[in-house]
Structure formats: structure tokens, C-alpha cells
């Protein structure tokens, strides 16, 4: 990566996904493009500084890209956030994480979108795919019905579960386990000797399921026109802000300084906190 590539080409740089397999890259580009096309009129351009859109550590072993676009005030979109990260591991392998999330603002109570692919070896992938609810589902069973039962959101999860290569994945963070919905796809995919390879599984199984879930999110959540009254917005904002703060703390707080040095970590965390407004 030459220094020139940092300047003023953020979305492109982000959309390169340079360290992952072709089907993995295609899937990410497909998902992000689908959202950016469908919501084009509601999104501001990415306003991150170039050294946050792309950054690396001093020794050049770790590389990462961040892409954030806020929604217009008139839109229910709070912001969309994509990222990729590549880290050489001491063992000689590499860790590759790609993620894409969409957050709605308190003008609606519809669920957010969350996708993360964590690949720590050529044969093993963790997939996190969910529409995290923005209310306590126990207290709001009509919300559960609307967004999770009526949309049949458990069907894509059941499809993936049937593959022999798919095992449940338990996040080490109980908070993350609490944030996701009862239809969340939290799985570890292990390619097996003589079976499908990981690229096949991403192309033919993860991809279709991720697109199906994103389609439900776009139709029923982002464009569902489910508005909430002024009274309820304060409550939603409190919960949303808590989730954002805890997610930063869990996902980034401890790892980023170690992986990219304190300066880059401060810069990137600052940019995320600004987008998150927390």
C-alpha cells in the first residue's frame, strides 16, 4: 500500500477487501452496494479522514479500513458502518475480519442489521448475522411477532444449521449474546477434509442467507416506515446509546491499541465515537 492510496478514495479503498477470498469479497461488496444503492438518497458521503478510512501499524503487518456514512436527519438511518481488518498472526497465519452494520435512529424502533465474518484460518470462519432488536422482546411480544415471527427470520438460520460444517458459536462476551435476537446466526463454519471448501460455503450458503436477511432488514426495518412517538424516542435512545458504548468497549477498546498502536487506535475510536454520537 503506497501512501497515495490513502487519499480521498475511502469508499473505493474500503470496497477493495484486499486480503480475503474472491467469494468473500464479492459477498461484502454485494451487501454494501445493495444498501448504498437502495438508501442512496438518505446517506451522506463518507466524511472520515483518509487516515481513518485506511490505516496500518508501524511494522506494516496489520492493515484496516473503516467506512461510515451517516443518514440525513430526515431519514430513519442513523449510519451505516463497514470495516475490514487484516492482521498477521505470530503463528504465520492471518486474521481477517470484515463487517457491515446498519443502525437506525430513534425515529423508528425497527431492528438494526449486523454482519461480521471472522476468518482466523483458511478452513475456519465465524459468522455473526442478525437483526438485533432495539427493545426488550420479553416485554414487547408484538415486536417479536412483527420483526422475527411474521418475517420468518428463523428460516435462514435453520437452513445454515443443516450443513455438517456449521457448529454453534458462543461469543465470549455475555453482553454480545444478550444483544442479539433469538433468530441470530452465530456459527463457526469448519471446512472438512473431502467436503466443501470455505469459498464454496461462502458463495453458496453464507451468501444467499446473508442476502436474505439483509433483504428482510431493508424491506421491513430500513424502509418499513414504523415510526414511534416522541415519548418513546428517549427510551430508545438510552438503549441504543448503551449498546453502542458497550459494543465499542467490547469490540475495539482492548484490541485496537495492541493491533495498531495507541495513536491510530485513538484516531479510529474517536471517529467511531463521533459517528456513534456517544
Amino acid at each position: 500500500f503506497s501512501m497515495e492510496s490513502h487519499s480521498n478514495q475511502g469508499p473505493t479503498k474500503f470496497m477493495e477487501f484486499p486480503y480475503v477470498s474472491t467469494p468473500h469479497k464479492s459477498l461484502m461488496v454485494d451487501l454494501v452496494s445493495t444498501v448504498e444503492t437502495r438508501l442512496a438518497s438518505q446517506l451522506l458521503p463518507c466524511a472520515l479522514p483518509p487516515d481513518v478510512q485506511y490505516y496500518e501499524n508501524e511494522s506494516g503487518t496489520n492493515h484496516a479500513s473503516l467506512h461510515i456514512r451517516s443518514g440525513l436527519t430526515s431519514s430513519p438511518i442513523d449510519f451505516i458502518l463497514g470495516s475490514w481488518l487484516h492482521c498477521q498472526l505470530p503463528t504465520g497465519g492471518a486474521l481477517n475480519i470484515t463487517s457491515f452494520s446498519s443502525y437506525l435512529n430513534p425515529s423508528t424502533d425497527a431492528p438494526n442489521f449486523l454482519l461480521e465474518l471472522i476468518q482466523s484460518s483458511p478452513t475456519s470462519l465465524v459468522l455473526i448475522l442478525d437483526l438485533p432488536p432495539r427493545k426488550d422482546l420479553v416485554l414487547h411480544s408484538e415486536y417479536l411477532q412483527t420483526f422475527y415471527e411474521d418475517t420468518q427470520l428463523d428460516a435462514p438460520r435453520q437452513k445454515l444449521e443443516k450443513l455438517a460444517e456449521v457448529k454453534p458459536y458462543y461469543s465470549s462476551s455475555l453482553y454480545i449474546r444478550s444483544v442479539v435476537s433469538p433468530t441470530a446466526i452465530l456459527v463457526r463454519i469448519e471446512a472438512q477434509e473431502g467436503g466443501l471448501n470455505l469459498e464454496d460455503i461462502i458463495e453458496n450458503h453464507v451468501g444467499p442467507v446473508a442476502k436474505e436477511v439483509l433483504g428482510i432488514w431493508l424491506d421491513k426495518c430500513a424502509c418499513g416506515k414504523r415510526e414511534v412517538g416522541e415519548n418513546e424516542r428517549g427510551e430508545l435512545k438510552t438503549r441504543d446509546d448503551l449498546v453502542k458504548r458497550k459494543t465499542i468497549e467490547i469490540d475495539l477498546g482492548s484490541n485496537f491499541p495492541r493491533l495498531f498502536g495507541p495513536d491510530a487506535a485513538d484516531r479510529v475510536l474517536g471517529a467511531i465515537r463521533e459517528a456513534y454520537r456517544v
Copy 2:
């Protein structure tokens, strides 16, 4: 079962668990006795009519027992509820369910206790074991920390998960999936040819884990002296009542009339609603 056995021997009848294996029965008796001994001074006797403590269907193929003891007003215990159910299946096999739960009242916000063993074949068992939270964990991360992280409640789940015979179990009800905690044990145990049989697994694996979770519940929840102010009690009661109502609806509403006829179903559901006060 002679008619005589119905009268006035409720707890004994309940404690017989006549249709399940010896280790399964021992485990249930152990758990119920542990709670009834430890909380003896806080529990009223079982006040259910004999034809609710034990009942069967007209053709005598289905048998069941219910055991409910309310807590004294001065106690944080709302009630404890145990049951067993035996149904002959059209296929020639039998369905056996045994369950034991403990509900706390709104003087405390500590989690409840929930255990259910569902055996639908000699080689297969579903285990549901949890301390269901009584608050939205996303909004109350200090509650998550106190009852789930500091107690290391995920450790017993991880122990069971390691067994080759243990697979995740997904309740068909998304509401039930929402009610349980992030450390909930929701598993299907399938004995395998040449491996451990189900009785071994219950005795040596399910039993120790269930006792460990119950121990945490007794020490930290039932006897944890975590009281809440008057203000918060209303909110807790609303959520508790909703959970109780939905649980009755999901667990019993549709199946009971079919299994035991409308009269017995009305009688038993009435008794449960009275104990639940919903």
C-alpha cells in the same frame, strides 16, 4: 393408579416420578428436596386439590402430576412449581417430561430458576436449564455482571457442551428463546451407539451441572437478599406477569386439552393461573 392414591398425598405422589429412569428420578427428587429443605421456613404447604396434584386422561394413557407451593408474604419466593407428565405416543413410545421451576416475587429482581427434561425416546433427551433474567440485560449490564458473569454461570454450560452427545436445542417458540439468559443450557442429548447411555449421562453429567446451577440460584438469587425499591416493583411485576401469561399460553394452552381432555385441562390451568396470580 387406584383412585385412593390421589387423596391427600400430593407431594409424595409428585415425588414418585413413576415413569422415568432411576437416575432421572433421583435427580428430580434431589433438586426439589434441596430447595424445599433450604427454603422450608418460607414455603406454604401444597394447597392444590388432589385431582390437580394427580390426573390422567379418560383412556388412562396419559398421566401427570403437579406440585405448587407458594412462598410466605415475608419471603422473596413467589412459588415453586414441579410437574411430571407421561403420555403414550401413537408410535408405541412414550413422552416423559419432568420440570421444576422457582419464581421470585417483585421484592427482589434476582433471576428465577428453570429446569425441564423432555424425553421422547429411550435415547434422546432435551434439557432446558437456566436462571431466566427478570430485566432487559442490554439495559442493565450491572445485572448481567452480578448474576451471570461474576457467578461464572457459563462454566456449567461449557462443561456439558463438550460432550459429543450434546447438540444445541432451539425451542420452536421465539418467545421462549427470548426469555432465557445468555448462559441458558438448551441442549438435545442423543445417546450414541457404543457410547454413554442416557442414564449415565443424566447421572454423571446432567445431574452435577443442574445441581451447580441450582446452587448458584439458591445462594445468589433466592437467598441473595437483593431487594428493590417500591418504584421498581411495579415494572418487575408487569414483566413477571407477562412472562407467566405467555409461558402458560405456549407450554400448556394448546397441548393440555388435547392430552387430558377439556375438563382436566381447565382444572389444571385454573390452578396454575391461581398460583401465578395472572
